[in-house]
Symmetry: C2
Subunit: 300 residues, 2 copies
């Protein structure tokens, strides 16, 4: 793992994801790791754990670390990530590579088109891993093992920088790197991530019994773990991706409604047919996932 | 574990659950384990693995094993379980204890009230454990560890028989034995189990992309694992518990609709408030579960 030898990497935001990424990148031997976070206790904790070498908590510090960083990893909520790039545009080191981890991509592509300093290379990315726990104190790079990483390359990205980012991602433990457009990313994520969080939240919202887990056998726990949600972040993600998400919610509502009507009508044949098809479809999806994971693991 | 010493236990149906229960009961040292299953290969497999001592596949065999069984565990779908008890009523051993594992209870209580032979003691139960895999070949009593078991005692159940069943359940690895009525059971299970299976199925049904797992980070997998569903069994469970289930589906649909409208209206404050409340509620439910598990584990 020579990719990061001699390089300085900065993390903007040292929460659960920024922290976990910094831990994973530390193992790849960069020259120096810097971080910005508004919470000084987090920086002290990260310094003590030797996850970072230099922590800053105010704008002057940001300018200093950006000036020396070959790679900047922005780990902020979507709107803040956009604001950060616009505000500190002139402070990045010449030819710096910038990447992000935000859960919506069209916002960044649309707002930064034609605006980004020409020598900078912004490679949009989305690590498909996380936790219902928040903050640097819960960060652990083990969450990346065997997960997907979505990249949203733009025509202006330099091939060598894309290769550089992919090498780092593979070294973090991700097995499946998918490349797509901002539009497709936002549409797929509306389904696999945002819709799932809306469903989990609605499910908990609809139940009043706080001792309901007395009656559960695993399904309820699995379906609602992600309802222990970072309210501010998910509100922003839902609203940033409003159109794609509402579209997915409505498709889901239609399927629910079909099943509800069949239950009401005691339509055994219809229900058995839907459930059989669903079983086949879900198994096909699972086989596709396992094939990709094992193909990538063997290659590695 | 002397509870089953000298006793003969019969399993009616040796699928995933019957098989797992037989494996767990084998460890409790009964005198003999018998089983009925229509599939002779399953019986041969169970004999070879020494899970059972005697397997039968036709009515005459059923009469023989019932005639010697102190405990009969009925592991059939709801309607078949009811039909079985009615059909073989006269064949059970005198003073036999019968128990079941079906996912709906009002059906059995309503249909058997005043009909059951007076010396027989039917103790209704529901082990809250399972697997998306089916059949005896996938049976494993490890699925019971630290799970809930719901009992639905009736006024006519003998206290010593209830104590006998509870002892067996605890020895199987279940930590939390909840006692309730058939009505409450069916209402709670409509939420924690049946609604969750409808949601998982509708979620898979609403997505056409068979490569969708390229874009998932765990949530989609967790929410849809149970969509690899036993279509026949769940169709019957949904329809048997139609009223409670449709009620739960409608409460859930109302919560989904509230959130959808807030997303459409870009109501950040409203969404953040809902998601914060949901987070608190889900954490409270989780703490309640953990307290009960640890209290019961310490007592054991």
């Amino acid at each position: 793992m020579e990719t990061l030898k001699g390089k300085t990497v900065s993390f903007i935001g040292l929460g659960l994801m920024g922290g976990a990424l910094a831990m994973g990148i530390r193992k790849q031997g960069p020259d120096k790791i810097c971080a910005f976070d508004i919470n000084e206790e987090v920086l002290e904790d990260a310094l003590r754990k030797e996850v970072i070498d230099w922590g800053v908590s105010e704008p002057e510090g940001i300018r200093q670390i950006l000036g020396v960083s070959d790679l900047v990893v922005i780990c902020l909520y979507p709107q803040l990530a956009l604001d950060f790039i616009l505000e500190y545009m002139e402070d990045f080191k010449e030819n710096a590579v910038i990447t992000d981890i935000t859960g919506v991509k069209k916002l960044l592509v649309d707002q930064l088109r034609g605006v980004l300093r020409e020598d900078l290379d912004l490679i949009l990315g989305h690590p498909m891993a996380g936790s219902e726990k928040e903050g640097f104190g819960n960060a652990d790079d083990a969450i990346f093992k065997d997960r997907n990483y979505i990249l949203v390359p733009q025509p202006e990205n330099k091939p060598e920088n894309l290769a550089f980012i992919k090498e780092i991602i593979r070294n973090l433990g991700f097995v499946n790197i998918v490349e797509t457009t901002a539009e497709v990313h936002d549409q797929k994520i509306a389904f696999t991530s945002q819709l799932c969080h809306v469903i989990a939240s609605a499910l908990v919202d609809s139940e009043e019994d706080l001792h309901i887990t007395d009656y559960e056998g695993g399904s309820f726990g699995d379906l609602t773990r992600i309802a222990m949600i970072n309210a501010g972040m998910w509100t922003e993600l839902f609203i940033c991706n409003k159109e794609a998400l509402v579209d997915q919610i409505e498709k889901f509502e239609k399927s629910m409604d079909t099943m509800k009507k069949m239950i009401q009508a005691e339509d055994s044949d219809g229900l058995t047919e839907i459930l059989s098809n669903v079983r086949k479809k879900r198994i096909t999806m699972e086989v596709d996932r396992q094939n990709k994971t094992s193909a990538r693991t063997q290659k590695a």
